[in-house]
Symmetry: C2
Subunit: 336 residues, 2 copies
């Protein structure tokens, strides 16, 4: 072995590696259009020392809504499916509920009756299925449900219904020093059960609607945290910006949402100094997923209120609108 | 240059480096006694693959109370000093307060009268100095105060009054993959201003007593988060365990506290499965710092209620009691 050759080989390897890095596409499921370009330009500018848009490593915070932004939210949020599908177990443990509303309606499985459940009914169901037990018991119940639950359209586990292009964005941002957070209107304890496995996002980086817990001692004298029917953080709308301050304490530099519940998070992100990017996922692909954005003449629906007002705000403020139809080559990893 | 020699030198460097690592003392300000041994043994066991006490990297969570555990809390918590010292600025902005209690008493500087302030008085002062302004304005005010404020005994900035042995523990745990968190009864927004610079702990790893914020729009149309006089998390006693679940979502494997306000955090930590270590800092060094632990015949005081009951619980449950007098060679970095 010759030392000069060794040095040369070493240099060549470094050059090749840098070239390979520059050539590899971090977002292969995205078409080379405006949305992809905006994301790539943002990442390059904020991570290049000397660039006026450079963001120091500790301040690289990226936030993502979950339902409708990272995975499918139609026809019902997965957590709502959980609440409905937990009812039989709750009724089995407390048989007297079988003849009480709204449990009776849920147990009947009558779809028309189910659709007439009021906000108050849903609250009763949520309290019965999501609270009143130790934190660890709840986590076990969610884990057990996730292993068996299937989406009604694709007949797949929910964690296979994440959007491949968004998974690429998560990895791309993390590879560039961004801390990725979920900021969801869904239950914080619920999403934390699967976020690490599903998105590579650890529990401490999941901000969601959070209930109080209460500290007490079990029969063995050990501490128990019990989930209570009291909301500490309603992580929707203004609550998303407030929740980010409470749980992270830094303003995001990049944020992704898809409905009116994300409006304030996107405004709060865009309102910071320096480089900021707010992006909206537009559901406009009825064939491969769903089309429920009101923009471009698509019909509005109850779930996922991507309103015309939000779309207008996005275009007025220069937020990036991501068209699932036009920007994404593939939507799911299981697609061919 | 000879290639064999290069390889040999490389190998030697690796061996030397590993030896240096094994020989260097991660806790040089600690006497080689039981407390130090317990910490080192815990870290070695939980980070050695194959050891029955091994803890996977993502689960390595360490929590620290701040006042009295990481820095001096006598004669008054620094945040309480802040509240008192902010009063002149508050009165200057609203002159009508000058003749209203408790502002009048604080402005008088009469120490005897100050000591008679009631809980309700303190609450009024806290609301007046800590809330009612945008988050960024509060951060600027705290930053400005910290630059000028001096501890009454050592005449030094508060962030120089951190305990050197605890700074070593923070670095030692982080070097071994532990995420270090502050879990403080103090204000979360207050501590976040200086935690990164003072302890290397970023804002998102500071859990503290937290108030609500409210989202609105400024004159320029940009979002503003205003600090409100409503407590979201009282991060004391049971609130510390509840706050850890809310903000981190994982049970600590190692926790440090010093007063009754830390009892539940230490119990919650010790109550988990696998390797867990709870430690109490005992203030028993009247000469170099303060002696206000009740144990070993020391007098009890109002601040820092390290009660006999807590000490008994610690010894009964095998928690480690750290004697500042006997376990620490040096207390502050500025000591010779």
């Amino acid at each position: 072995m010759n030392c000069s050759w060794l040095r040369l080989a070493g240099t060549a390897a470094v050059v090749l590696s840098a070239t390979a890095h520059a050539q590899s596409d971090p977002l292969p499921s995205w078409h080379d259009k405006a949305a992809k370009k905006a994301i790539v330009e943002f990442v390059k500018a904020t991570t290049t020392p000397g660039n006026p848009k450079f963001v120091p490593l500790p301040e690289r915070v990226a936030t993502f809504d979950q339902d409708g932004t990272l995975w499918v939210e139609h026809p019902l949020y997965s957590q709502f499916m959980y609440v409905l599908e937990r009812v039989p177990a709750v009724v089995k443990a407390k048989p007297e509920l079988a003849n009480q509303e709204p449990f009776k309606t849920v147990m009947s499985g009558n779809r028309a009756a189910l659709e007439k459940l009021t906000e108050r009914d849903l609250e009763i169901l949520a309290v019965a299925t999501l609270t009143g037990m130790p934190v660890e018991q709840f986590q076990d119940e969610v884990r057990g449900w996730l292993a068996k639950a299937r989406d009604p359209r694709w007949k797949k586990p929910y964690n296979e219904l994440t959007y491949l292009p968004m998974q690429e964005v998560l990895k791309y941002l993390r590879a560039n020093g961004y801390k990725t957070y979920i900021v969801t209107g869904g239950g914080q304890d619920f999403v934390r059960v699967y976020a690490e496995q599903t998105y590579g996002i650890p529990p401490e980086q999941v901000v969601g609607t959070a209930g109080a817990t209460s500290y007490s001692y079990g029969k063995d004298g050990k501490p128990v945290l019990t989930k209570e029917a009291k909301v500490v953080l309603n992580d929707n709308n203004a609550g998303k910006a407030e929740g980010i301050h409470l749980m992270i304490g830094r303003r995001p530099h990049i944020a992704f949402g898809n409905t009116a519940g994300d409006q304030q998070m996107l405004e709060y992100t865009a309102g910071g100094t320096g480089a900021r990017l707010s992006l909206l996922v537009l559901h406009d692909d009825a064939k491969r997923e769903y089309a429920y954005g009101p923009a471009k003449g698509l019909p509005d629906t109850k779930v996922g209120a991507f309103s015309q007002a939000l779309y207008d705000e996005a275009t007025k403020n220069g937020w990036v609108v991501i068209s699932m139809k036009d920007d994404w080559k593939r939507i799911f990893a299981f697609e061919k």
